[in-house]
């Protein structure tokens, strides 16, 4: 089985080649293009699972110590920088999930983009090229053995998210009737926002990377995490902290951008402007998982030099995670767009993962990352199926003459236009319920086990410390977050699947094709049983598989938290209450009514609906001032100071021109900088006379002048 490790480079390479093949050769053939993409990712999944199996069979020497393939890449001074690939238990766990979820999303996309239908997307092939590159980026990130390759993959994903979020950011009126103008504008803005916002984080990560590279001379994970290296990094002081902590915080800055943590979370909800499979891709298996992966992979740097319980870098992770988990969830309460609710849910769940990592528990964070990937992909694809059904219902209603085609108020994403869809779309409904229960954390669905592990971890820390310190607040935020999560999901399923249809489109909605519902069912299975991967009553298998990957650093320790019935019981009760409460409140909601939460919460609801006005704040405090500054700097440059000074010098120079022979030859004839119109005319006339022969003469004049000057200086 060890043979499989030699195939590791193929895992990102196959989708990359699929991308290249589509862009260069097959983009005119839609069906072939999507088949190449799907075939590529499926093949990549097979190889990945082979590697996972090999890792399982190989035992501890691979799971903990890792397998590596270094490749010399960059000559740097007297040394050579190696890039390369590595696999350990952690990587293997990711390799089980990432390509598989991607495959499901790819298959689903074929149906979603209406292959072979009259309304097939005109940029169908391009879409599959982009998502292949996206998958290649994520897979490259997972198998990278060094921070640089990780960063390169990371940025490739950033590019793909830009291209895919902005997939509908331009239109061709002749061919693309179904894209409306407002959507074009929104997609354009969302893509830019995603790229620039994550870029802020990326630059922090880049700085951390450069610092780390400077101090250690390497970026290979195994080298960095050697105890002596960590100690060396800890002994350097930078900005009043150990350098290792600064680097960890900078890396975390990157993760905050990529994993949409507060305060750089603003791009993620807008990313909904992309086609729905992209949302699933970004929110589940790839993009946002990258930030969590990064923190988990770099965990020794966060801890180095401190006790796990009071390492400052780690505390930041926990605090930001807790804030994000709670605030993300609250915003989710007040959104009407089915995908936006899920988007804020993603933000919030990513906060849970960061909380887990921030408590120093690698496995708790990653376990939740894995289960979340499955059930969130399921929920997004399910919401896409609902939207797809609603769009078809809308068209069907238009065809029946019951509503006009250009019903401007209608949005297929608006939950308040839905209702009663459980009868119309049963094959979407049941998997969606599985995803909901997993997200909310009901026994025995996957999310229950993984979320509980994080809360149990926090709870135990709190008990150990005995004070109302950080672990307590983390636990409280997590538990309250769980309640709110359950509430907004109850609200969502009630609005979408229960009640009466609130719009013609919902009345005429129908089930999506099998290529869409099939992946939903497969993912639903994982949402149901995924928790077994690390269930305490099975002896926490995931823990034994990947818990030890940071042991060699001697700073991160893996200890299992025993299952805590009090914590699990409380969070289950909270989840059930929330889910049933939300469902009961919204079950009979009718179109046009003021919704219950709005009635009860008043201005708070408005605050939540407007996402705490963070976007407006950034617009006011950052974007506008920067644009203003740019304009002022330009004025300074061109109009007020720099260039006028140059012109002034030019004018003075003209006055003094006849002092110098050189100036005389070149300048006086032709008039000096910012000369009068007269001077321009004179120059123009002179220029017009210029012939090739004259040019050569002219050159000669300059050369001779130079030499004469030289001679003058020499022999004087």
């Amino acid at each position: 089985m060890e043979f499989f490790f030699n195939l590791v480079p193929l895992i990102p390479l196959i989708p990359l080649l699929a991308f290249a093949a589509i862009v260069l050769f097959t983009h005119r053939n839609n069906r072939l293009s999507s088949n190449i993409a799907i075939g590529g990712i499926a093949l990549s999944t097979l190889v990945s699972w082979g590697v996972v199996l090999a890792t399982i069979l190989a035992g501890e020497h691979v799971q903990v110590e890792g397998w590596e393939l270094p490749i010399p890449w960059l000559p740097t001074g007297t040394t050579v920088f190696n890039t390369g690939f590595a696999v350990d238990g952690f990587t293997a766990a990711m390799l089980f999930m990432v390509p598989f979820v991607c495959t499901m999303i790819f298959i689903y996309s074929q149906g979603y983009m209406n292959l072979g239908q009259p309304n097939q997307d005109p940029r169908y092939a391009r879409f599959f090229a982009y998502i292949s590159l996206f998958a290649a980026g994520m897979l490259g990130l997972v198998v990278a053995d060094n921070l640089l390759l990780l960063f390169i993959s990371w940025e490739v994903m950033g590019l793909c998210s830009y291209l895919l979020i902005g997939f509908w950011s331009f239109r061709d009126r002749d061919n693309e009737q179904h894209i409306d103008e407002a959507q074009v504008k929104r997609a354009r803005a969302a893509a830019l926002k995603a790229f620039i916002t994550t870029r802020v984080g990326d630059v922090l990560l880049f700085s951390g990377l450069a610092l780390l590279f400077s101090y250690t001379g390497t970026l290979t994970f195994r080298e960095i995490f050697r105890p002596d290296m960590l100690e060396h990094l800890g002994s350097i002081s930078l900005l009043g902290m150990p350098a290792v902590t600064v680097i960890a915080l900078l890396a975390f800055g990157g993760a905050v951008g990529k994993s949409a943590q507060f305060p750089l979370h603003v791009w993620l909800p807008d990313a909904m402007e992309g086609p729905t499979p992209v949302s699933a891709l970004i929110h589940a298996a790839t993009m946002v998982a990258a930030g969590v992966y990064l923190v988990a992979r770099m965990l020794p740097l966060f801890v180095a030099g401190f006790e796990t319980a009071n390492a400052p870098a780690l505390q930041w992770v926990a605090v930001i995670g807790a804030i994000t988990a709670f605030f993300g969830a609250t915003i989710g309460l007040a959104q009407d767009d089915i995908k936006r609710v899920l988007a804020y849910s993603t933000i919030s769940q990513l906060g849970y993962m960061m909380m887990g990592l921030g408590l120093g528990s690698l496995v708790a964070g990653i376990f939740h990352l894995l289960t979340h990937a499955f059930f969130k992909a399921l929920l997004f694809l399910g919401s896409g199926s609902v939207i797809h059904g609603m769009e078809h219902g809308h068209h069907a209603a238009g065809a029946h003459g019951q509503t006009s085609q250009h019903d401007d108020g209608f949005s297929a994403n608006d939950m308040k236009t839905m209702g009663g869809l459980r009868h119309k779309m049963p094959r979407t409904f049941w998997p969606y319920m599985a995803g909901t229960l997993a997200l909310v954390g009901i026994v025995p669905f996957a999310g229950f086990w993984s979320k509980d592990e994080i809360l149990a971890e926090a709870f135990q820390r709190w008990q150990e410390s005995g004070a109302l310190g950080l672990p307590f607040w983390v636990w409280l935020a997590g538990t309250l977050g769980a309640l709110i999560t359950a509430l907004y999901m109850g609200r969502q399923i009630a609005l979408v699947f229960w009640g009466e249809p609130r719009h013609e489109a919902a009345t005429h909605a129908h089930e999506s094709p099998n290529s869409m519902t099939g992946p939903l069912m497969v993912l639903a299975v994982f949402a149901l049983i995924g928790g077994l991967a690390n269930a305490p009553f099975l002896g926490s298998p995931l823990h034994h598989f990947m818990g030890g990957v940071h042991e060699a650093s001697e700073v991160v320790h893996s200890a299992t938290v025993s299952f805590n019935f009090a914590v699990a019981g409380l969070s289950t009760v909270v989840a059930l209450l929330g889910l049933l409460g939300g469902w009961a409140i919204y079950r009979n909601y009718r179109a046009g009514e003021v919704e219950p939460f709005q009635r009860w919460l008043g201005p708070i609801f408005t605050l939540l609906r407007n996402k705490y006005y963070v976007d407006e704040l950034y617009q006011l405090v950052i974007i506008r001032p920067v644009v203003w500054l740019a304009d002022q700097v330009f004025n300074f440059d061109n109009r007020w100071v720099v260039d006028p000074l140059v012109n002034l010098v030019g004018a003075v120079g003209r006055a003094a021109a006849d002092i110098s022979l050189l100036f005389d030859k070149v300048a006086v004839d032709s008039g000096l900088v910012e000369g009068t119109a007269k001077a321009f005319n004179a120059f123009g006339g002179w220029l017009r006379q210029t012939q090739t022969g004259r040019v050569q003469n002219y050159l000669l004049v300059v050369a001779v002048t130079v030499l004469m000057l030289l001679g003058l200086y020499l022999y004087l």
């Binding site: 010399p72 000559p75 900088v673 000369g675 210029t690 002219y698």
Partner: protein, 513 residues
Amino acid sequence: MDFPFLTLITFIPLVGAIIASLIPGDREREIKWFSVFVSLIPLVLSIVMWALYVQTDGGMQFMEEAVWIPTLNAYYRMGVDGISIPLVFLTTLLTTLSLFYSAYTIKKRVKEFFVLFLMLEMGMIGVFLSLDLVLFYVFWEIGLVPMFLLIGIWGQPKDRPQYSAIKFFLYTLVGSVAMLLAFIAIFLTTGTWNILEISSLGPLADSPALAVAAFWGIFLAFAIKVPMWPFHTWLPDAHTAAPTAGSVILAGVLLKLGGYGFIRILLPFFPALFKQFAPFIGVIALISMIYGALVSMAQWDLKRLIAYSSVSHMGYFTLGLVAAAATLDVSDPLLTSRAIALSGAVLQMFNHGIITGGLFFLVGVIYERTHTRDLKAFGGLSAKLPVYYGVMMMTGLASLGLPGLAGFISELLVFRGAFHIMPTYAIIGVIAIVLTAAYILWKIIQYVFLGEFSEEKWRAIFDPEHWHFSLDMARFEVITMAPLLFFMLLVGVYPAPILNVINAASTAILGSL
């Protein structure tokens, strides 16, 4: 005697220019394709030379030497090392591409254009190869004249070509004079013009005041050429006015003459002074980076935007250079960091040449069709010109330093060095990276390509009567861009072939200071 690669590479363009000037002016086709053919010879020679260059040795190779002006003790001395090889290759490549592109787009005074362009090539290559100060200076000045005329004669009337051309000329000349005086002072104390010899002597050691004056004199000449803030205002004017090929060469090669001068002359001549003034020059680098990016963001003229972006991108070069010069410590790990910073700076020059050169070609693509560069006049073009969109996207992404493309590697190396040697500067410098992403994606991609395509708006600017090729990028435009795209990808994915020579030379130069 060995094969005289350097002489041939330098003077074949001159021979070509003379022959071309003998062809009757009305035989435009012959003149055009003859010039393109001539420019291929130095290109091929520079590739062969690169292949033959012994990479393990970072020093000068293919050296040629002959007495030139005995009374002045001036020699004809030429040589290449790992710093100049990529730049010579860049020059020959961009010249060939520019001539090829111009063969389709230049309509007026064809003969003069191609003759001047070949002479320009000779001047630029000569600067990169000279190892004698007099020779260096002569080539430096020779390059100035053809470019002056290219801007003045072939510039668009509405862009004030005369003003721009004179501004370019005078600005550079002011620097040249200061440099010349410094060279003479150095000659008077050392008795030689030999660049390598002066480097090892350490000129003007016993008259510190004069040394400082000479340092700043030379600094001024190169700083204007690079250009560094605040000596950069000739650049946007010159770029805007110049014809496409002129802008390509201006950004792609002429700015590198200044950068090359810093590494070949100023740093080896005055390492101690460079170290002393490094904090100050570092500030200039930061201002150039951030200020240039901000001003780019404020532009509505596509070409002017890219011109200002050069100020910002060459600021990265300066930062790398300053980081390498900010200490004289030659023990590891500092030497490694310095070598990385210097290699990054040199690679940044190469990358800027192919990327920004490419961007100027791409401005030409849209300008030839619409005769406007106003960003507000476009919109939604990605639907009409998908190939153009793809090529611009890739070039723009390379420019904003996306990993996997060329720009990233040099930025990484520059910052890798700078973070070790001058961390405060590096931390401020990274702001420019975010701003760059903003102006490329917001101003260029969004305004030109995204949004809704408006037939009405397009008809107002597009004039099919004056455009005889396909609406999307024509074949000759694709052929022009293809080598540049290839190098963006190659350097981004596997930089070793180029970086090996650069790295060997940087290490050697820093070791010998």
